[in-house]
Amino acid sequence: MPYGKQVVNLGNIYYFTIKKYELIELAGNFWIVAVIGFVASFFGSLMGIGGGIFIVPSLTLLLNLPIQVAVGCSLTTIVANSCIASYNYIRNELTNIRLSILLCSTVVPGAIAGSLIAAYIPSTALTVVFCAVLLGIAYSMLRRARKKTDETAENDASKQKSSITDRVFKTESYYDKNLRAKVSYKIIKTRTGLISSFFSGLLSSLLGVGGGIINVPVMTLLMRIPIKVAVATSSFMIMITAAAGAMVYYYHGLIFPTVVAALVIGVLAGSFTGSAALQRIQPKNMNIIFAAIVVVITVLMLLRLFNIL
């Protein structure tokens, strides 16, 4: 019998809803999941890290789903979300398909390893790892709020070369619509990129997050790739990584199609709204507010873990 069928019941949501509203029909749960997807994706888009980091805690805290199921459903939603993002980036020829495939040679095994580990380790351990990563994200957001890093660092490709770089990549370029010019760049430190990609894949499928939070800084700061290309390439990689991880979760019976359907609809609406709102919101103090939200979520998850909540 699949793991999900044994463990999951929505007892808590009945309890939750009956206590507050006396009676809510089961069909209403669709909308609850869709709203969770919308809110998580909205905040995720505002923070520029995708919605996975909020979807997993929301599903575990509000719907009382086991963390493995929440991660599996979140990964499937990430595939859908990154498909749309990748389509836009590929259409504008921003994605470096060569680089993404090269990095996928380590990120995909990492994703498969992560999902296999997640299916076998206890929920408690997975929750602790998730909370540790959440705290790390909160810390990095606070640091980002204090000092703004220069993401357009000088491309010093001539100083460092590796054999893979020389064989696969020559000088790459993309057309920047804002600058109205072709921007050339040379990729360096491919080996570092390959190693970090493995861990990005591992973490992504272990925790049900996109992995962009690792991919993009590695590409921009270490491999000296322009930020636009890094975001587009990361999005393409996430689509492949999340699919690889999600398929293993499906094998273990940890993906519930109906939860995914409601999530996908909410997440797509949330990411469109979040991206639009991002253009209008002033970024001042936003990182501090989001860091505080992430810390609160971490505390709630830990309280649930120790049966205090």
């Binding site: 069909a27 590929i90 492949i240 699919a243 359907a261 409601a262």
Partner: protein
Amino acid sequence: MIKPGLYRLTAGILLALMSVAFFLILAGFILGISRMSNLTGTISLGEIITGIRSFDPVSVIASGIGMLFIIPILLLINAMIYFFKTGDKLLSWITLVVLVFLSLSAFLALS
């Protein structure tokens, strides 16, 4: 430097498959609102095939999810053929390795 042909073809495949996948997920969601009595549970390939015939919401959604999983595999096959045709042997082999790993996951999901 990649020629625009690969980008156009990749974008085309992505749009076509994505549209079908989202249509199936949305259709299943709409069917599910009226009929669904349980949010939980997973479904096997055999159940999906028989379920689609009777417009079972879970089967329709699961086929949409399956379509989402197929997208990266087809995009990689497309890229591998492109790299092979353009004589980029190293990258076509790397793509093949990635494809093997993805197919392994897909095989697990279907088994």
